[in-house]
Amino acid sequence: MKNSTKIVLITGSRKGIGRTLVEYYLNIGYIVIGCSRQDSDLINPNYKHFICDVSDEISALKIFKFIKSEYGKLDILINNAGVASLNHILLTPITTVKKLFDTNLLGTFLFSREAAKIMKKHSYGRIVNFSTVAVPLNLEGETIYSATKSAVEQLTKNMSKELGPYGITVNAVGPTPIETDLIKAIPKDKIDKLLMSQSINRIGNFEDLINLIDFFICDRSNFINGQIIYLGGVLK
């Protein structure tokens, strides 16, 4: 491994956006570490997969121990792992609320904390979190999901201030709906209504997202910190 080879950790990497990001960064020569609650069928010498619930501290620490011993550095963390739930507040079980907060907020916090400890040693790091346009659009039916992502936005902003002095930037992407498993359960009329509230009325694609993540993680973006950018021209 060349010293300049980027090491990237992507959570929720088995399928959907996470899987696409893994394949993209492998293709451009990065070493990628991924994790998900189930095993991955992706086989690549530059890819290492861990089975891990992102809210489980013990499992998470094993990943960072591996990264430290194997590579001695971590350049990029993409906190992609997330779960969504579409439900009216009156019908939402507390178990769902806990599950969403555990994965979306606690997982993001835990991985960011441990990643930053490694990044700090090299005074360099890029952390990208995942919000959603459901936050600025205040979508009904996505109350708990958007509450967890709203918390991720606050986490992003505060972490950017605490980690900025160490050369670590923390930013968040706010995707519109993208054709993944996460939105399969959402009725088409709901999606159409959402698209109409964007200034660019189309469904997002992986390229849109990769472009934004690439912007946040590139070396030249060392002055971009604490920002939340929504796709589709959605305004806060």
């Binding site: 620490l61 400890k117 700090k120 002095p165």
Partner: protein
């Protein structure tokens, strides 16, 4: 696993040395184990303390084989801060390694 106090003291002093090299902040250890770290006229501000704690946590992890969290609510709520002086920090680490 309870850590031996002498081992912990050595870890803490090694981490202080490494921290000094990386941060260019000098920690005056002329008073030995009672040398001040944080608070009062201690040399560390809160950001520097965070860096030192991270160093020590990692060193302890290597020694213990498992991670520990030094700066939790328990530590923060103590009448005498575990981070005020070298000896307080060493005693605190030994204490929590026993839990």
């Amino acid at each position: 696993m309870r850590l031996n106090r002498d081992i912990v003291l050595k870890i803490v002093l090694d981490c202080i040395k490494q921290f000094e090299e990386e941060s260019e902040i000098i920690i005056d250890l002329s008073e030995g184990e009672t040398s001040r770290l944080f608070g009062g006229d201690g040399p560390l501000d809160s950001l520097a303390l965070v860096s030192l704690i991270v160093e020590i946590e990692e060193a302890i992890e290597i020694e213990l084989g498992e991670s520990i969290i030094l700066a939790d609510e328990k530590a923060m709520s103590r009448r005498t801060s575990p981070f005020s002086r070298v000896n307080n920090l060493v005693d605190y680490i030994v204490e929590i390694s026993n839990n």
